[in-house]
Every structure is written in C-alpha cells, then in structure tokens.
C-alpha cells in the first residue's frame, strides 16, 4: 500500500487549489481524478468570470484552468488521471480503480473535492435521446467542438442555464426558448439580458409537459404552472426542437465523505447531502477535509478559495507550517471568500425576494420576468447617464460581486468603490476616450459606448459582440432592442478586435438618434 501525506480526490478547481497550497509547503500530494484530463469543469467555461481582479475576473474559465494546472505543475503536485476513487475507509484508506484494477493507498490527510452532479427533472419523454444535461451541452460544444443540436430548448434560468444558452448561440445553435418553473429568473440579470437582446424568449412559471418523438426528440410542449407548480390546462405551447437541455441545479457528490464516517446533514441551502464542516472545510473526522461544491453548491471562484483553505489547514495539521502561518493565510483567504459571497445572489440570500438594490434603487421587474430591463426602468441606474460625446452606458442593475470595469477605464470614468457589489457609476467630469476597454472587460456584457447625437440625426452604439461571422464594416442590418425586437436600420461603422479584448469584439453601429438608448444588439 502506497502512502501519501495528502490525498486529494478531484482535480477540479478546488482540488487543484488545495493540492497547490499543500505541495507549496512541502507536502507529498497526490490528486486522483476519474477523468482523462484534469481541470474539472473549468475547461468547459468559455465565458469571462465575474469577481475582482484577484479572483480572476474577466478571465475566461478555461484560461483559469490552464493557469491552475501550470501552478500545480510548478508546485510539484502529482495528478493521477483515469483513477476513480471508489472507497474511503477507516484510517484514511483510499481505494482507487484504474483501468480494471483496484489499488489501495493511505493518506495522512484527505481532501475531498469531488464537486457536484447535475440534477434532473422528469417529464414524459425525458429519457429520449436528445434530452441532455446543460453540462453535456458544454462538454460537447466547448471541449469537443460538437453542436449539441440545431434547435434547443433550455429548462432552467439559473446562471448555468443562462450561460450555457449563450454558449449554444455562440456554437451556432438556435435557442428557441428558456423555460423555468419559478416565477422569476434565477441567475444574474446581465446573463439573461445577453440572451434577450439576441431574441431568445423567456417563459417563466412554465415547465416541460412532454418531450415528443419515438427514437429521439422531435419537439417539446411546455405548459404554464400555477403557484403550486401544477400544470395549467390550456396553456400548452409547442416548439419544434431536436434538443432539450436541462439546467436545474446541482447536488454535491458527497458519497465518499458519508462512507468515511463524516457527520453529514441534509441542507437544501447547500444543495443536498453535505458534510458538517468548520469554516475552513474540516469535517467531523480529524484530517478529512471537504472543499468546493461537495461541501455546498457555489461556483468555481469560491471553490478555488475553499480548496486553498483546506490545503493550508492540512499543512498545519501535518506540521508543515506553524499555527500563526496558517492563521495568517486563512485570514486572507477568508476575506477573499467573503467578498465573493456578497450581493443579491449571495448564499445567505438564497430564496429571499429582493426588491431593492443596496443603493435603494428598485430592481427591474421586467429583468426578473422577461430577461431584459424595460425602457422605462433603465434610467434608474447610476451607470445609465446622458452626456454629449461618446460615453459608457452601464446596464448593470443588480448587486453582484464584480468590479473589473472600474479598473478597465484608464480615464476613471467608471467607479464602483470599495464595496465590490456596488452598482457601477459613470462619473460625470471624466471624459471617455472611446478605448472600449470597459465594454470588453464586462463579464456580463452590460457596457455600451454611446454617442447619443452625432449631429446628423444619427447616434452610434458600440456593443460587445461574441458571435460569428463578424459583420463587415459598411454592412446594413438592424438595431435590436433589449428584448431582441428589430427597432431600426443600423449600419456597421467599425468592428474592433484587439488582443486585450480577449475575443470580445466591439461592434459599433450607426442608428437613428432616437434609438441611441434602446438599440443594444445588431443583427444582419
């Protein structure tokens, strides 16, 4: 039986982070992962992350994955792939299946970072080929370059449903509708708004009544639900689709922890069966730690911090750093984690109905119900201002922990302040130089550069554009509203794609000036 000081289960964001912190302090660490490649789900995330600079904000998920692997490599972490941990027994004995053989290992400390599995909902026809998980869609298109389908219906309006729907559009699929049984959109409003402006309709208080087809999905019927989530007869709507994608939450994969005798609890706020842990991830069994989604569903940025915390704790537990060193590192990490757990979508606010922002501004009702801020609502927000000449218009209307726009502007036009969840404010006195860095830096694609009056009856609107083909300069098309409706004719006046924008192209369109504050997307 081979012995390691630390055995980490799962080479995703939290497992790798934990292994890095432990290995950096001199521990002999091995990470087991059942997959062929390390990185967990990070390599499927092609969108820019939210957060602050320190939390990898505005960096795309797969790039964060690459950086993490490099760091793990440098720290001397050993990663064993195609190695499924099938058992965790007394005295920290770990049983691993590799190919068709079983091996036994012993760890002085164990860090479980197995992540989470997707939830499903059942409906007639849900087992048909063509009904897939949102994770499957990401795996197909972002890892393997395969289109999940031609016409897709997405069930679930949390951040996963919203982000994957947008990625489906980027992969060249049509998203016919986004459906959620809840009466309001679950994920970030900015993610919903990105979809709405391309014309994807939202059906809240709706669910799938039936998937049609004999051998595979040929269509889907959705149906409105009442407040008890019962189908309302006569409200059925049919869509011609070949793919139904489900993004209905995640559950911690905590079986190994349970098996090893850790005290568990059923905690719906953390996503289901989770270990009882202290604030740094230690379970009820000394020397066994849990980090990332397995100890409560959140997202990759917090999973990485939790992993680092567990790594530091393990180092101290085995005598590789002093109590003081541990406390110093943990204090820093705790501060980072707390800053990510702020705002409307913070774990503490789960299930609460929030009607006003921290600034006391009313939340857009249309954003929650339809996926876009209504025209009569948009002027309420401090990022939406009117000025002469080109200036940023920031349609960021919910308190989320994210602030790259503030640093992106070299002229100080945008301020968020110390509190990372504040809504961005466009400063009146500073002058925009039309560099576009703010537009490209906004992970929510909520910043536009607008010249409301060019003097000839026209206005220009610069939008973030992450689709192919990239429209040609001079091309005539249409300006679309926040709800995706065609508002007016639009001419493409420039398309900027520089390295610093990281694949977010800046498309500038000329529209009649009365549409300056309403045209937010371009379609040819």
């Amino acid at each position: 039986m081979k012995r390691y000081e630390v055995i980490v289960v799962g080479a995703g964001p939290s497992g790798l982070s934990a292994a890095i912190e432990a290995a950096k302090r001199g521990l002999k660490v091995i990470v087991f992962d059942e997959n062929e490649k390390p990185g967990g789900q990070l390599f499927k995330q092609i969108h820019k992350f939210f957060g602050s600079k320190k939390h990898h904000a505005k960096i795309r998920g797969f790039k964060i994955g690459e950086n993490l692997l490099e760091e793990a490599n440098y720290a001397g972490v050993e990663v064993a792939l195609n190695a499924t941990v099938i058992g965790l027994y007394a005295d920290k004995e770990v049983v691993v299946r590799r190919n068709d053989q079983v091996f036994h290992y012993k760890g002085d400390c164990i860090i479980i970072a197995t992540g989470a599995a997707e939830n499903m909902v059942t409906f007639p026809g849900w087992t048909l080929p063509g009904v897939i998980g949102a994770g499957a869609a990401q795996t197909m298109m972002n890892l393997h370059g395969i289109k999940p389908g031609k016409k897709v219906l997405m069930l679930g309006s949390g951040n996963v449903g919203l982000v994957v729907s947008f990625q489906l559009l980027q992969a060249g699929c049509e998203v016919v509708a986004l459906v959620d049984a809840a009466p309001q959109i679950g994920g970030y409003g900015v993610h919903a708004a990105k979809l709405s402006r391309t014309g994807v309709p939202f059906y809240l208080s709706h669910t799938i009544a039936k998937a049609h087809g004999e051998d595979c999905v040929t269509g889907v019927t959705i149906c409105e639900v009442d407040s008890q989530f019962k189908l309302i007869a006569g409200t059925e709507k049919y869509f011609d689709v070949d793919t139904i994608c489900m993004a209905v939450g995640l559950s911690p994969m905590s079986q190994l922890l349970k098996m090893s005798g850790c005290l568990m609890e059923d905690n719906p706020k953390r996503g289901g069966q989770v270990p009882i842990i202290d604030e740094f991830g230690e379970t009820s069994v000394p020397g066994i730690f849990a980090a990332g989604d397995v100890s409560g569903i959140e997202e990759a940025s917090s999973a990485m911090i939790e992993g680092r915390m567990a790594g530091v704790c393990v180092a101290e537990y085995l005598g590789y750093c002093t109590h003081e060193e541990k406390n110093e590192s943990l204090a820093e990490l705790k501060k980072d984690l707390e800053s990510l757990r702020q705002g409307m979508f913070a774990p503490a606010n789960r299930g609460k109905k929030i009607t006003k922002t921290e600034e006391g501004i009313e939340i857009s009702d249309s954003l929650l119900k339809n996926g876009f801020v209504a025209e009569q609502e948009i002027e309420r927000y401090p990022g939406v201002v009117h000025k002469s000449g080109i200036h940023p218009v920031i349609e960021c209307t919910q308190n989320i922990p994210c602030n790259p726009c503030q640093d992106a502007c070299p002229k100080g036009c945008i301020s968020i302040g110390e509190n990372i969840t504040n809504l961005p404010v466009v400063e009146d006195e500073n002058v925009c130089i039309n560099c576009g860095m703010c537009v490209a830096s906004c992970s929510g694609q909520a910043i536009f550069l607008v010249d409301e009056d060019c003097g000839d009856g026209s206005a220009t609107v610069t939008i973030p554009y992450e689709f192919l083909p990239i429209p040609e300069v001079g091309e005539k098309g249409f300006g679309l509203g926040r709800n995706g409706e065609r508002l007016c004719e639009a001419t493409v006046v420039s398309v900027k794609s520089v390295k610093a924008f990281d694949h977010t192209n800046l498309l500038t369109m000329r529209v009649p000036k009365e549409y300056a504050m309403s045209a937010r997307f371009y379609a040819s």
Partner: protein, 113 residues
Amino acid sequence: MNRIENHPILGEPQKTEKVTFCFDGQEMNGNMGEPIAMALKANGVMIHRYTQKEHKPRGIFCAIGRCTDCVMIVDGKPNVRTCVTPLKDGMVIQTQDGVMPKTEANEVERSRV
C-alpha cells in the same frame, strides 16, 4: 454536420488525426482520441442503446461518464461508457440492446421471451 467549424471564442478546431471506425456494420470517420460518443454525434447517431426491459432508446445524457445512458458494445465489450472512452482507429461499435448487440437474432430471442 454537427461539428463546429469556427468558434467565436475557441477558434477553429485543432487538427487531429482522422480515424475510421465501424458502427453497426457501417464505416464512419472520427477524430483520434475524441470520445466515441462525440464521433457518433458528429455522424448523426442518436441512439446508443435500448433498455433491457422496456426496449426504450437511450443516447448521450450527461456526457461525463456519470449516467451510463450512452453505454454501447465496443470491440465486443458491453456497457462501455462511450462519452468517456477515447475513439481509436478500427474500433467496432455496436448499438447495445439490453446487454447484447442489437441484431436480428436478438430481436427474435427477445420477442420469444
């Protein structure tokens, strides 16, 4: 084709070695090392297996090796998770029917049972 030729963020797919494999007696092409399920999807194959008792079709569901909906007979071995098994040149892949290959003889056997 179901392959993405150019992606706004990821660019063009990496050039990989092409391989041929056999699906239910039919010759198909795929990329060396990609999951079998992806090669099948690229070729428009949706049904991977039929369930043992009710004979209902199943295909890719989770695509990460958890759900086992996509298992098939690969080089004679049943219950292979095609979403996490890399494609190799010359592989023989069969639609699984219960735990057997889907063949006419099996159909007859099934109807007798």
